[in-house]
């Protein structure tokens, strides 16, 4: 049974249809994990429609101000698809974790990725989609992450990592409130994100002070009026290292009811 910690396990099989020109892959890695694991990310980009596409890939390093990110450009013929294997290393020469921002200058593109443990006996990991702006979360909205768990015994059960990408050029604050399945609050984790920063909070239930959580969920908001972000959870099986990627489901916060002016009227005889 393989155990691995510390590095996100990420991947998916994404079929998001792209209508926007900029998509964000919110987690990627070129890093060594525990138990001799080797985390890598392959990025897939396809030109959609009947025209070719040109695009830029930018590296949004974890924990960094990414106002001026490293980048490279590629072009695709009509109908063509391109796989960029372990691109954090091969294209950026970067070691660590990050998010990727993929912007189409011409044409339309579809983006997906797989982050996996590059084990010689066979890889495993999770797919992380390229996410467009319609799936992001702004001030006045919340993103809900479900299907979360935590075991206080690191040999069994699951652990949950929650990650964010700041989509603005300003520092923003985000809060993660964690709940048990029945809706009782288990605690809150607050983080500030630098411009375009990717950040992941590993074992987020532990960070919030919670112990064992069989079935939980998280609600993520920004406290910054101009805040705009993507968030996700990676829920990892402590025993096998298998992980699932969960994208935050965004909805607008309810508008508070407008207060009523209370008019207390009395009728009496003067004097």
């Amino acid at each position: 049974m393989r155990r691995w910690l510390s590095i996100i396990a990420i991947v998916l099989v994404s079929t998001i249809t792209v209508s926007a020109q900029t998509l964000v892959v919110p987690a990627a890695a070129n890093a060594e994990g525990v138990n001799q694991t080797h985390w890598r990310t392959d990025l897939q980009v396809k030109a959609m429609g009947e025209e070719g596409a040109s695009f830029t890939v930018e590296l949004l390093e974890s924990g960094a101000n990414n106002s001026e990110p490293e980048s490279f450009e590629r072009t695709l013929d009509a109908g063509a698809s391109l796989r960029l294997g372990n691109l954090l290393d091969t294209e950026f020469g970067f070691t660590g974790t990050a998010a990727l921002r993929v912007s189409a200058a011409t044409g339309r593109i579809l983006v997906s990725s797989r982050t996996y443990n590059d084990d010689p006996e066979g890889t495993y990991g999770q797919t992380v989609p390229g996410i467009d702006d319609s799936l992001s979360t702004s001030f006045g909205e919340s993103a809900t992450l479900i299907q979360l768990s935590r075991s206080s015994d690191p040999a069994i059960g699951f652990r949950t990592n929650v990650g964010f990408v700041n989509l603005t050029g300003e520092t923003i604050g985000v809060t993660v409130e964690l709940f048990a399945a029945a809706g009782s609050s288990l605690g809150t984790v607050n983080r500030n994100l630098k411009p375009f920063e990717h950040r992941q909070v590993n074992d987020v239930f532990h960070a919030a002070g919670a112990d064992d959580v069989v079935d939980g969920y998280a609600v993520v908001r920004t406290v910054s009026e101009d805040g705009h972000f993507i968030c996700y959870a990676s829920v990892v099986d402590n025993g096998s290292g298998d992980a699932v990627f969960i994208l935050g489901a965004t909805e607008a916060d309810p508008t508070p009811d407008e207060a009523r002016l209370v008019v207390f009227e009395s009728f009496l005889r003067p004097g």
Partner: protein
């Protein structure tokens, strides 16, 4: 939170009618007659004022407004001009059928800050047929020649009878100024 008072023998703006519409007690009633939310909640007589009135106010505070309202006021000579923007969020169509009404009550601010203001004049206007989710602009004009311009105060109350002609009124929203 606004306290206002009227002479029960010379009521203005149809407000006493709201209290009477809400009263279903056939017995004797005693002064003072009091109400919140245009008669949604009423009381009368000598009571444990702090408790009874406090509870009425608390109940009203717990009820959200069912209309949005913004009022722009101006005074030209002896005329107070109130332009009301009303957004119906009641879930019902407001119209003459449920006696949907705008009432402006005007008074002069008492010199004693502890004193409850007494309504000096009032104007009413029917709310034109207004389906839920729609808006209307309604103008009220009141003669305020007897009132000191610097101490003239007003409240505009939007209300209607949600449960029929012989039932209590309810306030949609109210705005006071200036």
């Amino acid at each position: 939170m606004l306290f206002i008072e009227q002479d029960v023998d010379a009521p203005l703006g149809g407000r006493l009618d709201r209290w009477l519409a809400a009263n279903d007690n056939p017995g004797t009633i005693y002064l003072p007659l009091v109400m919140t939310d245009s008669g949604h909640d009423i009381s009368n007589g000598d009571e444990s004022f702090a408790t009874v009135y406090g509870n009425m106010i608390d109940r009203s505070l717990d009820r959200p407004a069912t209309a949005g309202m913004a009022v722009t006021s101006s005074r030209s000579g002896s005329i107070l001009h109130l332009e009301v923007q009303l957004d119906n969020r009641s879930g019902a169509t407001l119209s003459a059928a449920n006696d949907a009404t705008l009432t402006a009550l005007v008074w002069q601010e008492p010199v004693d800050p502890e004193a409850i203001p007494v309504v000096a004049t009032a104007r009413t206007a029917p709310i034109p047929s207004l389906v839920d989710g729609s808006s209307a602009k309604i103008v009220l004009e009141a003669s305020v020649s007897a009132l000191d311009p610097d101490r003239t105060r007003w409240v505009v109350i939007a209300d209607y009878q949600p449960n029929g002609t012989f039932e209590a009124y309810d306030t949609l929203q109210a705005v006071t100024g200036p």
